[in-house]
């Protein structure tokens, strides 16, 4: 990658970090906490996504 493009990309990612940090801080401090069974309900579809991606990888190998 061209050095100027690398610098522009790095500056842009730095800007994203700057704007993302307050939102992340807010959600970590004030976001609702998980109740019993909540993480399980989220983990099942996410594990299915992982399995699906592994299946796609097996198809291209």
């Amino acid at each position: 990658m061209n050095i100027w493009l690398q610098i522009a990309s790095a500056a842009f990612v730095g800007l994203l970090l700057f704007f993302l940090y307050p939102a992340a801080k807010h959600w970590m401090q004030n976001g609702p906490k998980a109740k019993k069974g909540d993480w399980q309900a989220a983990a099942i579809p996410l594990l299915l996504v992982v399995g699906f991606v592994i299946l796609l990888i097996a198809m291209v190998r």
Partner: protein, 223 residues
């Protein structure tokens, strides 16, 4: 009795508003995806260089940070969201063209496209039908994004393929979580602006597609 009537009336109003946000979001998302696809075809036809992708994404995201929040509550927001998604689609064409020229390229692009569709429809369908509140994932998703951004920043200069693979895998998981989070926000009234909701879902789909392309490109090009 009067209080009960008012409560029922308010509840019906809220449900109506929620359904309107969901309907408008999916309509706008479909339109922006079609437009984005057309712009990708245009950039494929024009055979634009690969750096177009970086420039398009940077300009589109800057518009997302600085212009969209100021216009999302007016009809001008519609023009802005189409400009953002059109630019991102135009940039995507350059990357797709690069992958199409690789061995097994058309298969890789087809699988990434189909895979993204299956992941998005599956997760949205799950969040909509289960009607669970996934807002507890907010802290995890935003903290994960910060970690990912630091990794992306490092890999711009380090260019380590294994780190690239880890970033792409992490993005697929985070964006999948974000689809659950954003959809449940719409269902439970946490997101009332359909332009913001569309932008969030579009970015998730875009990131999942790009990450899948990278992963399948790395594993498919081994032979």
């Amino acid at each position: 009795m009067n209080t009960l009537d008012r409560a029922i009336g308010r509840s019906t109003e809220t449900t109506f508003a929620t359904n309107k946000v969901i309907k408008n979001t999916y309509l706008l998302l479909s339109a922006t995806l079609v437009f984005s696809g057309m712009m990708a075809l245009l950039s494929l036809y024009l055979a634009v260089p690969v750096w177009t992708y970086t420039v398009s994404v940077i300009v589109a995201m800057l518009m997302g940070i600085f212009v969209l929040p100021r216009t999302a509550d007016s009809s001008a927001g519609l023009g802005v969201i189409f400009a953002i998604t059109g630019l991102m689609g135009f940039g995507l064409g350059a990357v797709i063209s690069m992958y199409l020229n690789m061995p097994n390229g058309p298969q890789t692009v087809g699988l990434a496209l189909g895979g993204t569709g299956v992941i998005f429809l599956g997760l949205s369908g799950y969040a909509l039908s289960s009607r669970r509140d996934f807002s507890f994932m907010g802290g995890f998703i935003f903290a994960g994004m910060l970690v990912m951004m630091v990794a992306v920043l490092a890999n711009i200069f380090l260019q380590i393929p294994a780190l690239q693979l880890a970033i792409a895998s992490g993005f697929i998981l985070l964006m999948s979580g974000f689809i659950l989070f954003q959809t449940s926000q719409m269902v439970h009234g946490g997101e009332t602006n359909y332009i913001h909701a569309t932008y969030g879902l579009y970015l998730s789909i875009f990131n999942i597609f790009i990450s899948l392309l990278q992963i399948l490109g790395i594993f498919g090009g081994d032979d």
